[in-house]
């Protein structure tokens, strides 16, 4: 078990190319499940590979526990690196697959057996030790692969999109298993993914990266509710956050073409500046659809698309020149062409500076 500290890390893959990782400082706590999240090319895998020692940073320091590991080879860093979870040896038994890393270290076979059995029990695969992986269903193969990573009892697990090639239902099951296991082992875990649902559901904290720059490090719910940049706001959440570009006009946000506007709630007014180019954001579940009726004041709209997902329904609505996505309970029935009124949960709105793309409203602005 160990904490990991990254201090002013830069990584360049050549002059003239933007830095792959740009002045990254990040502390990963002992026993923490930290997810590095971002789109492809954001620098997350490069960061993981530098922690592993597979890539040397151009500048900056990396510490694992108390040790400065800049000059240590991967094998000396006491980490287990797991790529995708299926590279098992098909001709070896489950027992031999799990024990493989220990045999490579020349541990006595009694010790190997003891540790393999211990890991198998934890993963609930004791009954499979004699089988060969090829005959096992995907989920059990994953557990075997996980067992092989666990058996060395590393200080740190590094994982690079391990669930990517699994089918959807197996992926949701493995999410739960991995999270439980990490909680159980309390081993520090750094996990790279581009899948925001994996990041949200499994991590203690998420570090969101884009273009080599760290955008925000925070708990899943804070990342979701209080994104500090427009990028974080729109990258996280399904469907993506609604955004409208415009500016502040007095006590209102007004869209670029002037047709969409919304009153800035009183508690937020002190953070906005008249005339400032601003991006307004609101999540699909913070908009509500109503049948068009005189009694409800809101934005007049028309249903464009209805997407039933079973446990909820998403509507695409044309309202005041914008296309808004709105999440509703499943049994609400509107059809394309219906006239509706859209209301906004004002305490859940987001405002971003259009130039810097930084959030204008601090956390808990609506509570003060």
């Amino acid at each position: 078990m160990a904490e990991i500290t990254l201090q002013n890390i830069n990584k360049s893959f050549g002059t003239g190319i933007p830095l792959a990782v740009n002045d990254l400082s990040l502390s990963i706590r002992d026993g923490e499940f930290l997810v590095l999240l971002g789109p492809s090319g954001c620098g997350k895998t490069t960061t993981l590979r530098m922690i592993a020692g597979l890539e040397r940073q151009s500048s900056g320091d990396i510490r694992i526990g108390e040790r400065l590991v800049n000059d240590l080879r991967p094998g000396d860093r006491d980490i287990a690196f797991v790529f995708q979870f299926y590279a098992l040896y098909p001709h070896l038994s489950v027992r031999d697959n799990i024990g493989f890393p220990l045999k490579a270290q020349n541990l006595p076979s009694a010790e190997v057996n003891r540790r393999v059995e211990n890991v198998a029990e934890r993963l609930r695969i004791t009954h499979l030790l004699k089988s060969t992986p090829g005959r096992l269903p995907g989920g059990e193969q994953q557990r075997v692969a996980l067992g092989r990573a666990m058996v060395r009892q590393p200080q740190v697990f590094l994982m690079d999109e391990p669930l990517t090639n699994l089918d959807a239902s197996l992926r949701t099951d493995m999410r739960v298993e991995l999270k439980h296991l990490q909680h159980d082992l309390a081993t520090t875990m750094v996990y790279v993914t581009h899948d925001q649902i994996e990041a949200m559901s499994m991590s203690h904290r998420i570090a969101v990266m884009n273009n080599g720059l760290l955008q925000q490090v925070d708990t899943p719910l804070n990342i979701y509710k209080h994104p500090q940049t427009l990028f974080v706001g729109t990258f996280i959440g399904s469907p993506p956050m609604n955004v409208v570009s415009g500016k502040i006009m007095g006590l209102r946000f007004v869209s670029d073409d002037g047709s969409f506007w919304i009153d800035i709630p009183p508690a937020a007014q002190k953070y906005t500046t008249h005339g400032a180019p601003t991006v307004f954001g609101v999540r699909a579940e913070d908009l509500t659809l109503h049948e068009r009726a005189a009694a409800i004041s809101g934005i007049a709209g028309k249903i464009l698309v209805r997407e039933p997902l079973g446990d909820e329904t998403i509507y695409g609505v044309e309202a005041a020149g914008e296309t808004l996505t709105i999440k509703t309970p499943p049994r609400l029935r509107f059809k394309p062409g219906d006239n509706v009124t859209v209301t906004v949960n004002h305490s859940a709105i987001h405002l971003f500076d259009k130039i810097s793309e930084k959030a204008l409203l601090p956390e808990r602005w609506s509570n003060v």
């Binding site: 492809s40 959807a168 239902s169 559901s201 993506p240 464009l304 079973g310 695409g316 394309p336």
Partner: protein, 360 residues
């Protein structure tokens, strides 16, 4: 615009029977999604309709005309794949114009038609760009435009959104559905992604191992699955299921490990009474049909909490069973703590474990 009828379609690859007497009707102007896991026979079905595979039996009818013997080109069907297959050296305009040039249209007419379609797809400003200068989503629109210019009788689509990133995929879903409705075109769309199927389809045909499982509207498929396969394949996260049997004396369902006893509604009891005690059953309930309450019918131990921002999934263990419960975004509980769960029984299902058939 046209209706498609696939009748008794059979297809073998060597000794492997890929499709065995498949029947599907796609109505004029309908968005039909063929949904199933890998190797279910979806793409084979689509290729048979397109004329890219020879059938071993059955017929394919488009607008009351049997097209089984026609070549792909004679069928007047457009195919859109997950790879866009655009000509890299041609601009978007030239890519879209190509099928019309091949048909000998004159330049003015081609220009008018390409611009008309580009406006519908909102790619007018991209017409002078080459594929390398466009994003994946833009390229997919151009590929779609190339299929649309010649106004085919039927659009066949094979996982066209698979290669797009998540955000774009969500956008394109809504876009494709809007487009299909606007054109009143007939779409036959293949995917293994149940979210795509649910969100876009007028009706979904669920296929597994070459056999049709159910054809119905998204809501019916979700709320009233015909069998255990459909119930588990559609919905994310997956429906909770566990083995159980009916105890006629207690008039209740008992889980196989004996840790859960569920009272049922009178009409559900009547159905089970008719089935009897001896049949192995599977109970099924979706995460949103369970709720965490003060006083519930089962007590579970919190295994993992999965916060997603707009909701939280709570994974609990009850004896040997795992249950996933949908809770509010702000729900909090410590791992290992005990919580009580209630079931919305009217929305729960019981399946015959042997046949997979839905009893209710």
């Amino acid at each position: 615009m046209s209706s498609l009828e696939v009748l008794n379609l059979s297809k073998r690859f060597g000794r492997k029977q890929a499709l065995n007497g498949l029947n599907i009707t796609v109505k004029d102007g309908e968005f039909m999604v063929l949904l199933g896991p890998t190797a279910a026979g979806k793409t084979t079905t689509l290729r048979c309709v397109a004329g890219l595979e020879k059938l071993n039996g059955g017929s394919i009818t488009l607008d009351a005309e049997v097209i089984t013997a026609l070549s792909p080109a004679e069928r007047d069907i457009a195919l859109v794949f997950q790879t866009y297959a655009l000509y890299p050296r041609k601009t978007a305009f030239e890519n879209m114009a190509f099928p019309l040039e091949a048909r000998g249209w004159d330049t003015d007419r081609i220009k008018r038609r390409v611009e008309e379609v580009a406006a519908i797809l909102r790619i007018t400003e991209l017409l002078n760009r080459r594929p390398a200068q466009m994003s994946g989503g833009q390229q997919q629109r151009v590929a779609l435009g190339r299929a649309m210019v010649r106004q085919p009788r039927l659009f066949l689509m094979d996982e066209p959104l698979t290669n797009l990133d998540f955000k774009l995929r969500v956008e394109m879903r809504a876009e494709l559905k809007r487009l299909q409705a606007e054109l009143a075109a007939t779409f036959f769309y293949v995917t293994n992604d149940q979210v795509e199927a649910m969100s876009m389809a007028d009706r979904i045909a669920v296929l597994n191992h070459g056999e049709l499982q159910q054809v119905d509207t998204p809501e019916q498929i979700y709320d009233h699955p015909a069998n255990l396969f459909v119930a588990q394949f559609v919905g994310s996260p997956r429906m909770n299921t566990f083995a159980c049997r009916f105890d006629a004396d207690q008039r209740a369902l008992i889980s196989a490990d004996g840790t859960m006893k569920l009272d049922l509604t009178p009409s559900q009891l009547d159905i089970l009474q008719a089935v009897g005690n001896t049949t192995a059953l599977v109970f099924g309930c979706r995460p949103e049909d369970l709720s965490i309450v003060e006083k519930g019918v089962v007590v579970g131990t919190v295994y993992v909490l999965e916060p997603l921002g707009d909701r939280t999934f709570v994974d609990i263990k009850v004896g040997a069973q795992s249950l996933r419960v949908r809770a509010d975004a702000n729900y909090r509980a410590a791992e290992g703590s005990k919580i009580e769960v209630a079931f919305d029984l009217a929305r729960c299902h019981v399946f015959d474990a042997q046949t997979g058939k839905t009893l209710f």
